[in-house]
């Protein structure tokens, strides 16, 4: 399992690069509001480029 724990480097850093996926442009609250309107869930990718 590749993951990077802040402060304590336990495993290799994982770099996520620019994506072709269309990420929501507004705030998280706006994403949640949109999800409610469209009867969807919100999938949040927490990433760090370094």
């Amino acid at each position: 399992m590749k993951r990077q724990l802040f402060g304590i480097a336990v495993l290799m850093a994982v770099v996520s690069t620019a994506s072709a996926q269309n990420w929501f442009k507004g705030s998280l609250d706006e994403a949640l509001a949109k999800a409610k309107t469209e009867n969807k869930k919100v999938l949040v990718d927490f990433f760090s480029p370094t």
Partner: protein
């Protein structure tokens, strides 16, 4: 890796857009960092699924390829199977169900929520102190949920600002065998490689290497401790030499460097050089070049990862510019990557010009291109050159014959083999006579 293999994978874009509003929190941006804080995210990558009211459905921390496997986990969460929300609701109804409590503990454990995970693991132990009510997998073995809970309480206590070795020591005092016990020794040894008092840590590390003398992890921890404290250097050298012996054919470079560090601490730079000198780095480079070539060869024929395959072929040429084998393999990879110009750049006219007086190299060159069925004019020219350089060597004439055969000029090939027979010694003649017979049959002469 998650970005490249999953988020950017168009196979899943339809699925994402059908079921989710896709949101990215970038830790390097203030707005993203605030969301990390809001949800107490401790590691990347973390994928968090939220209901529209903002409540947490489930999460996945880390990424293990392949993407299909990760996608199956996401889809399971989407369908509400074994999610955090599912177990949290069950727990609210029945906090005494051990499976529910254990599953919820693991959810928080995955997310490095030490406080909640530890509290729930303690509930597991209280519910099943004898460890009879359920098992879980641990490194291809089965352990009771209770033993796992005790182990994880010990592991979690080794992280964070306030480390407590007590729970892991209690675990190791209670249990003595199995993979989970070995893992306990490894984790505590890792902590003691930097932390703890000298006396306390060396006492434990001595015990760990005595119990697991061939385990790389505990031995490495021992060695790191010695390098860190600069004490017990002789014992450190003994352990370091041992772990490098265990991995004789492919030692971890960090372990070799540790051994060199220890020799240096003893003022033995000649010994450090013997294990970590030029031979060491040349060997590592050779291993890398082999790996790079294998990678380029593997992907060049499969029309995937072509950019990195090309980059690896370039590196091979750069690192082994004089090695015929690597040049040929790189040229083959370039050809497969539909880059024939590059193939000829590294193993073409310039090569022939450079080795214009080396018959053996030119024979290899002509044989390679004849086998590839490409650059046959160049191959013929190089082969003919070998007959000038080494006219008494039958292999020179054979080299020309091979190219003629590929060009379907069988009459010319036959003439070349007849020349080979002329110059061959008695031991070699039969080989070329057989070949001549085959060629004549192919040409319809006999």
């Amino acid at each position: 890796m998650l970005g490249q293999q999953y988020w950017e994978n168009k196979t899943y874009h339809g699925y994402f857009n059908s079921h989710f509003v896709m949101f990215r929190a970038d830790r390097t941006q203030k707005s993203g960092a605030d969301i990390f804080t809001k949800f107490n995210i401790m590691a990347t990558p973390t994928v968090l699924m939220l209901d529209p009211d903002g409540s947490e459905v489930d999460w996945h921390v880390g990424y293990d390829p392949p993407a299909e496997k990760f996608h199956a986990q996401i889809d399971k969460s989407f369908k509400g199977i074994d999610t955090y929300k599912y177990y949290a609701e069950l727990y609210a109804k029945n906090p005494k169900d051990i499976k529910t409590v254990f599953s919820l503990a693991r959810k928080f454990d995955d997310r490095y929520n030490q406080e909640k995970a530890t509290a729930l693991y303690k509930e597991v132990i209280a519910l099943d102190p004898e460890g009879k009510l359920g098992t879980t997998d641990f490194k291809k073995t089965k352990v009771s949920n209770t033993q796992y809970a005790e182990f994880q309480i010990g592991s979690l206590a080794l992280f964070g600002m306030k480390v407590d070795v007590g729970p892991m020591k209690a675990f190791l005092a209670k249990y003595h065998d199995g993979e989970i016990v070995k893992a306990g020794y490894q984790r505590l040894a890792s902590y003691y490689s930097r932390g703890g008092t000298q006396e306390e840590s060396m006492k434990f590390l001595d015990e760990a290497v005595a119990k697991y003398p061939d385990d790389l992890s505990v031995n490495s921890a021992y060695v790191r401790k010695v390098i860190y404290t600069k004490e017990n250097v002789d014992k450190g050298i003994e352990r370091s030499e041992h772990i490098n012996d265990l991995a004789m054919y492919n030692p971890d470079p960090s372990n070799v460097k540790d051994l060199a560090d220890l020799y240096a601490l003893k003022g033995q730079l000649t010994k450090a050089d013997s294990v970590y000198g030029k031979d060491f780095i040349d060997g590592r480079v050779s291993m890398f070049v082999r790996s790079a070539l294998q990678y380029a060869t593997f992907w060049s024929s499969r029309n995937m990862n072509t950019e990195s395959a090309l980059a690896m072929a370039d590196l091979v040429v750069k690192l082994k510019p004089e090695d015929d084998y690597y040049l040929r393999q790189a040229a083959q990879a370039y050809s497969a990557l539909k880059n024939p110009d590059k193939a000829l750049e590294v193993y073409g006219p310039k090569y022939v010009e450079k080795y214009a007086t080396d018959a053996n190299r030119l024979m290899g060159y002509s044989a390679f291109w004849a086998e590839q069925g490409k650059n046959l004019d160049g191959a013929l020219m190089a082969a003919k050159k070998t007959t000038e350089l080494a006219p008494t060597n039958p292999r020179s004439w054979n080299a020309v014959a091979v190219v003629y055969q590929k060009l379907k000029k069988l009459d010319d090939a036959i003439k070349m083999i007849e020349k080979a027979i002329e110059v061959a010694d008695e031991n070699q003649k039969s080989f070329y006579k057989n070949k001549l017979e085959i060629l004549k049959k192919q040409a319809g002469v006999i």
